[in-house]
Amino acid sequence: MKDVLTENAVKAETSKISARKAQVYYGTNHAIKDVDVEILDKTVTAFIGPSGCGKSTFLRCLNRMNDTIPSCRVEGSITLDGEDIYDKRVDPVQLRAKVGMVFQKPNPFPKSIYDNVAYGPKIHGLTRSKAELDEIVEKSLRRAALWNEVKDRLQTPGTGLSGGQQQRLCIARAVATSPEVLLMDEPCSALDPIATAQVEELIDELRTNFSVVIVTHSMQQAARVSQRTAFFHLGNLVEYGETGQIFTNPKDPRTESYITGRIG
């Protein structure tokens, strides 16, 4: 639809998700305070910060996974392509088809590898034939760098894979629905260094198609994979900017303390 060239030209500046004065409450607990953030298209954005600072909470607000927690309340505005995702007319199901999610612990369905990846396209009616579905499954598994390992055993249970493979399967599952944004909540925390490297490589490739938001506890990981970094502390967004600038020349003393290991 849009001209590819112009899209590429402006890609670094296009805002995909923007939050304005976002507040999140768990009951009476004010978990996220006044967060203003612009998440850019085709960019990897890393959320860093000490445990309990609200980065995962904020991430889950971006595709309304927090809706499943009854006491959770979101105020302020969070928009995707200019549309308020907390508008009453928005069905979270439709939102989550556009904003996919990968969780901290690999959680494949206890079904076959094929069914794991095919589930999203099936329920969203993205395909008209088995052949198309096969194609999507293969493409997604290739994107997740898992195809070569599992192509001969697509009908075996996804839970039988190793931890790193399971996480890549979950990524394949998430990209199979062709989301526009991919949220990753500490996707490598349960993985060994080799699997972590594979997933990081993958995240970098995914950037060409999606906007990726990743929560991580590893500052090295944030430095390696992200172009933009947001530092959260006690529910506040302390600093947000170019990853290089955050890590080399932080403006806020709290950011500097965290990066140098004094808080957190």
Partner: protein
């Protein structure tokens, strides 16, 4: 002060410094553990002994119910006597009552005794006729009415022996006890032995126990479980059809959709309470609502099924909710994360994972319902029923009995033959429970294998 700095913490005193000798503390701990293991083992042993004793007493008392003594008598069915109209029309033949058939049978037995040259001193004709069950003429009459072509022929009729003669071959009646028994004489037992010697009397498998209806106090040998098995089966169908969808739907709603507030808490507490309500209370409820208010017939499997459904529902909802709760939340997150709706995540992912647990709860609930007696007593299932209920659905409204109620009923009767029947009925009940549990295990395996 110098002391303190010299030994900052006194070294713990040990009885022995060698690893090869046990100190007193360790020995005491080991002894305590050994004692506890002993208690546990003793508890298991006691439980097993109780089970073995229970099974032994049931089987030793109940297995004879599956065998029945019959006397083979050549009977000439005289058309002039049994079909006075002479047109072989069963409606008109029905005028010949069981009394007539009784005479035919006792004459035939007398002739058979004489023919075989059996002479027992002090045995009169009435005692010979008394060898046969009071049910035997009725069975012969049923056979003839079902097949009028038998008239005029001489057939070998397998006549049930009376309960006392039957008991003689099961050890319940002895020559000694017969002298004190007004229902049987030692001479009759001698005759039975003589008939057995001639091959006219034998004890064989009693299929009638499983197929025939209940019989009156005087004829335990003819009492069967046919109607009780059918009635229990009808009720189980009603319970399954109603409680599975209602129970699972209620559980899913409460567990997955219901808002967590004071109302759902109240419902939750009350479901737990309902599961603990004595079953007889449900019987009173059923009597008041289904029979007195809704006007459903008494003693009908539909009412029994409805009452048992009420009783079973909380017992199904509780394990079903537990099974749903046991499904890891990561699976729900995964489904929601790829954009499944709540219902899709439940039906595609949560329910299949919870299915084995739900099935187990269901079968255990059904098994409890199958063995439930008290509520059925109150809705009249204890009635004496001789007519088989029709096929469902209309048969659900016909009077029927139920297995556990039949057991209760038979234990109330005077004739010792019914003790045997009651134990036999318990065996049948146990076999059904065993079948259901096996089914549950098979189904569970199948569901689990899919993953």
């Amino acid at each position: 002060m110098t002391d303190l700095s010299a030994s900052p913490a006194a070294a713990p005193v040990r009885a022995s410094s060698s690893l090869l000798t046990l100190d007193a503390r360790v020995r005491r701990r080991n002894a305590a553990e050994a004692r506890f293991r002993g208690y546990g083992f003793a508890a298991i042993l006691l439980a097993l002994l109780a089970l073995v004793w229970l099974l032994y007493s049931i089987f030793s008392a109940g297995l004879p119910a599956f065998r029945q003594t019959v006397i083979q008598i050549p009977v000439t069915l005289d058309a002039a006597q049994l079909d006075k109209a002479g047109n072989r029309n069963p409606d008109e033949m029905a005028k010949a009552s069981t009394v007539t058939y009784g005479k035919v049978l006792s004459e035939a037995l007398k002739a058979a005794v004489a023919q075989n040259g059996i002479v027992i001193e002090g045995l009169d004709d009435k005692e010979i006729a008394g060898m046969l069950s009071q049910e035997a003429p009725a069975m012969l009459r049923r056979d003839v009415l079902a097949n009028p072509a038998l008239l005029g022929q001489t057939i070998t009729f397998q006549a049930y022996a009376t309960g006392r003669v039957d008991g003689y071959y099961k050890g319940r009646v002895t020559l000694d006890s017969a002298t004190r028994d007004s229902n049987v004489t030692p001479e009759q037992l001698h005759l039975a032995d003589a008939l057995k010697e001639k091959g006219l009397l034998s004890t064989s498998f009693n299929s009638g126990f499983l197929t025939m209806p209940d019989a009156s106090d005087k004829r335990p040998e003819a009492a069967g479980l046919g109607i009780a098995i059918l009635g229990s089966a009808y009720m189980m169908v009603v319970v399954l059809v109603l409680s599975l969808p209602i129970g699972v739907a209620a559980s899913i709603y409460l567990e997955e959709f219901a808002p967590k507030n004071r109302w759902t808490d109240l419902i939750e507490v009350n479901i737990a309470n309902l599961a603990a309500v004595p079953s007889i209370v449900f019987g009173i409820l059923g009597l008041a609502i289904f029979i007195n208010m809704a006007g459903l017939p008494q003693s009908a499997p539909i009412v029994g099924g409805l009452v048992l459904t009420l009783m079973t529902l909380p017992r199904i909802i509780i394990p079903t909710r537990a099974a749903l709760k046991a499904v890891p939340p990561s699976i729900r997150d995964a489904a929601l994360g790829v954009g499944a709706s709540k219902m899709q995540s439940i039906f595609h992912h949560v329910l299949p994972l919870a299915a084995p647990g739900i099935l187990t709860g269901m079968i255990i609930g059904l098994a409890q319902a199958l063995g439930e007696t008290a509520p059925l007593l109150l809705i009249g299932m204890v009635a004496f029923v001789r007519e088989f209920p029709a096929a469902p659905p209309s048969g659900l409204f016909d009077p029927a009995a139920a297995l556990p109620v039949q057991v209760y009923n038979w234990t109330q009767r005077g004739d010792p033959g019914f003790v045997e029947r009651a134990s036999g009925a318990i065996i049948v009940l146990l076999v059904f429970l065993l079948i259901m549990n096996t089914l549950a295990i098979i189904l569970r395996r199948r569901f689990e294998r899919r993953w």
